[in-house]
């Protein structure tokens, strides 16, 4: 029995994490052993899955709690005439008498019962000093040592004699009353339910049932590499489950959106087509329908068309419009991926397949001066006439002419204002087509381009005939 100082309102706060109140009754009295406890005659009893809590309604300092694991057995008394029904709760004796009185042999450290004079194992006579020492050890448990300076204070001190730190009230100082049994007298009924609940909880030992989540938490707290790994594991698991949940949500959202669109379509079909025949209510409905379409960004969908010509028109606007990707002097070469992204951004939710874009390219080439070019790496780019392979090759030759010592990729990239990787791709294409430029990798790995002079060199050799008809 441990004293508590709580009121009925504070019971909930006092509960542990896993503790649930299973039963309450607010009109009970307490008997300690066979005697009525005069100070605890009007209170509430709470039965949780861990303990019993008695809260006195008049004097909160008289409240106490009993851990269920300390209960050895219970009895039920139905009541007779004026005496109320009672539940008797027998308490386990918390101090193990046997242990206290056993003595340990100083020679072989065998644990002997109190009544043996010599050691049962080795026959050495019981050392009288031994028991003194044990007393001293028991005493030390009640020592009031300071948590800061470790000075051993007198048990009655509340502040440390040396450093004035407030001392922790020791377990032993909280007054525990240990009657053999207590009786709970139910003056307002409800004893049957209380007894059956208590029986059930005691039978299943509810306090000892571990929550599987508890174990995870404990693993989290474990130290070292194992702990870190475990925490990483749990984090990954939780984020994974979050993602899965998110995708599920998204899917349901899509379904809902589909339903909404269908629903809106149905509504629209029900409304009369002719505006003049509409009643005010119907007009309002039509307006609401249109505005909500716009609100959820589906307004673009009806305007987005799918036939080739209008698609090409859209694409032309993106490439050559006022702020088009290839208009002005901004850029002359653009990656097809980028075009596709820009186009789809403009289209909102009515996304296009990349294949559609590729299919439309011939039409664009017929109607504008934009041309597409598939580079050696497989990348397709769109370019203005100034950046056709012929024009590029001419410029490349002139750069080399100016340099007289081989020109690097970076230099060309700077002059062309294009990324070096794209330039490399362009040069590869130009080389394959015109063969007027040759590549040179120096020992340091730097790439230079030179004018193709291989044709101009000859080596006099009598075996040259062997190579005359040689081709790769």
């Amino acid at each position: 029995m441990i004293k508590l100082n709580i009121t009925n309102e504070q019971v909930k706060i006092n509960l542990n994490k896993k503790e649930n109140v299973l039963f309450t009754n607010n009109n009970v009295g307490i008997y300690l052993n066979d005697n009525k406890d005069s100070q605890r005659q009007f209170g509430s009893i709470y039965a949780t899955n861990y303990r019993l809590i008695y809260v006195d309604n008049n004097n909160q300092s008289k409240s106490f709690t009993i851990n269920l694991e300390n209960i050895s057995k219970t009895e039920f008394y139905t009541g007779f005439l004026k005496s109320s029904p009672k539940v008797t709760i027998y308490l386990k004796n918390m101090v193990n008498k046997d242990n206290k009185n056993d003595w340990i042999c100083s020679i072989c450290s065998f644990l002997n019962p109190i009544d043996s004079i010599s050691c049962n194992l080795c026959g050495v006579v019981k050392d009288t000093n031994n028991s003194n020492r044990q007393n001293a050890r028991n005493k030390s448990q009640f020592d009031n040592s300071c948590p800061k300076c470790t000075f051993k204070n007198h048990p009655l001190m509340t502040r440390c004699e040396l450093c004035e730190t407030t001392l922790k009230p020791l377990q032993s100082t909280t007054p525990t009353i240990t009657p053999e049994f207590i009786r709970v007298s139910f003056r307002g009924g409800g004893e049957g339910q209380f007894y059956s609940t208590l029986k059930l909880v005691l039978e299943y030992k509810a306090w000892s049932i571990e929550d599987p989540n508890d174990k995870v938490l404990q693993r989290d707290q474990s130290a070292g590499i194992g702990g870190i790994l475990a925490s990483v594991d749990t984090k990954v698991q939780s984020s994974q489950s979050n993602i899965v949940d998110a995708f599920k949500d998204l899917q349901t959202l899509f379904l809902k959106a589909d339903e909404m669109v269908k629903c809106a379509d149905q509504l629209a079909s029900r409304l009369p087509k002719n505006k003049e025949q509409m009643t005010d209510v119907e007009k309002e409905a039509q307006y609401f329908l249109n505005s909500s379409f716009n609100d959820i960004n589906l307004g673009i969908a009806p305007t987005a068309t799918s036939d080739e010509e209008s698609l090409a028109f859209e694409l032309k606007a993106i490439l050559h419009g006022d702020s088009g990707l290839l208009s002005g002097n901004k850029r002359n070469v653009i990656n097809l991926d980028e075009v596709w992204c820009a186009w789809n951004r403009g289209r909102g939710v009515a996304l296009l397949n990349p294949k559609v874009l590729i299919d439309i390219l011939p039409y664009i080439e017929r109607t504008t001066n934009i041309r597409s070019l598939k580079l050696q790496s497989g990348i397709i780019v769109l370019h203005n006439p100034s950046h056709s392979l012929e024009e590029f090759n001419k410029r490349l030759e002139s750069y080399i002419e100016d340099c007289r010592g081989g020109v690097t990729t970076i230099e060309i990239a700077q002059k062309e204002e294009l990324p070096p990787s794209l330039i490399e791709d362009f040069i590869l294409c130009a080389q394959a087509k015109f063969a007027s430029v040759v590549k040179d990798v120096s020992s340091g790995g730097l790439v230079r381009y030179w004018k193709n002079e291989f044709k101009d060199f000859t080596i006099e050799n009598e075996l040259n005939d062997y190579f005359v008809n040689w081709k790769l």
């Binding site: 080389q431 063969a435 040759v438 120096s442 020992s443 291989f454 080596i459 075996l463 190579f467 790769l472």
Partner: protein
Amino acid sequence: MTTIIDFPPFYTQQPNVETLSQQLQLWSQHILKVCKQRRQFQLSMSDDIWTNEKIQRTRVILLSTVICYYLLISTGLATYTDTTKESVWVYWRTLAEWAAVLYDHVDGTAQLNTPLTYYELTEGDYSHLSELNGLPTPILRSAINILVKQNKAVTIKTSNGEGVKFI
């Protein structure tokens, strides 16, 4: 005009097929010329012929492999010395030419119908009279095989090495 060996792109494998073809021909001609000048029969992939310190072009391992494989071997002007393919015999004279040189030499030194060892042919006293001096045995053996097919020579197996008799 500078020579091809001072033209830096000469040391990089060209991406254009046509240019590459020209480049490989130039390389092959260059190699044969240099080997003949040096009387060098064996050419490894790390030979100094592949590099030009003057213009700092030294990383041509890939190119040298390509040249040896595609050009010299496909035109019969080189064969691999072993299965590791790390060096080749360069035939700056073709095997047929070597066979002719061999026969002329033996005939010229009045050694027809005389059993001769391979050592005598390439390192013997008379070898200095012809280009045969220092000729590696595998090339010599191939040349003799040509003569054997033409019924101009007979190989002789002895306990202490190989021999040949020219007819």
